[in-house]
Symmetry: C2
Subunit: 200 residues, 2 copies
Amino acid sequence: MNYPKTIQNLIECFKKMPGVGEKTAERYVLSLLEMDEEVLEKFSNYLKEIKSNIKRCKICNNLSEEDICSICQDSTRDHSTICVVEEPKNVFSFEKAGTYLGVYHVLDGLISPLEGIRPENINIPSLLKRIEEEKIKEVIIAVKACVEGETTAMYIAKKLENKNVKVSKIAYGIPLGADMGYIDSSTLEISLENRQQIHN
Amino acid sequence: MNYPKTIQNLIECFKKMPGVGEKTAERYVLSLLEMDEEVLEKFSNYLKEIKSNIKRCKICNNLSEEDICSICQDSTRDHSTICVVEEPKNVFSFEKAGTYLGVYHVLDGLISPLEGIRPENINIPSLLKRIEEEKIKEVIIAVKACVEGETTAMYIAKKLENKNVKVSKIAYGIPLGADMGYIDSSTLEISLENRQQIHN
């Protein structure tokens, strides 16, 4: 004896999402039964639409409802600075911070020789083409600090040597407000190495 | 600048579920973009159907796709023993354990004078009527151990005095396999009080 079929089917759907197991899925589905018919109708419609409504921006590969995303369309932004990120959600994190006024390029992955992911398997060719064709002054590489991130940063930097483009990467170090006692030793190491002089 | 509207709408829907905040909802919605169109179509349809497909059993008030749930319909079960539970999900927990072969009654709440929940606000009248009309031999009260649970159990027991019905409540104590060091003192107290003699 199990839950009625409609409930069981929905539990299976929720279990496809990251980090959701049997118990959590059960809890979610039972909570749906308390919601208004209207809310569920909307929820259902949004789910049906999401795949067809969301495309990738033809310029920067960010998630967008139009061919060109709202950031690339925004003429008040600095289109000569590109921030290179791994995933679309990184764009939204930077946007929430709100201080970056340039544009983006979403790689959709990082170079990983071990997993057979080569530069041409992610959106590096389109980035290089973009830098070639548009008047780009600076490329800021904002990928996570790991072997793949480092490899990707090095590859892009190498490709842009002698191209009259400034290439930088974001600062790695201690997050603001973090308790020093919980910081891992590699982060401590890099925070020492990249220390900034206050005066001499 | 936020996520595209379809994504933002779905994030708001997911945030309506228990324990889901902004970050988790974001993660769920972005994971949907990786799913097959087909899977999303099904997910969407199940959501739309759930409210109309799931009713309450006319006998025991459990979740069911038919007027009478599959447990109440099952003639191989012992219909003279009723296990009284707070919520539908408790029925499925007992069914997963698999040893109980009687039927159920779902109260949909517990008596709580503080919150103004009186016996007639939950499914106690229908339980008493059922015991009056059907040949019930035993009522097992399986609600959680708290003031409201205790009040509910006492109320039902009182109502069934001199009705020729055995009334019992499930055992409260240390869960199997639990580390004694993590058990709260009230549970320890009750486990001592309800100790079972092995021999004298």
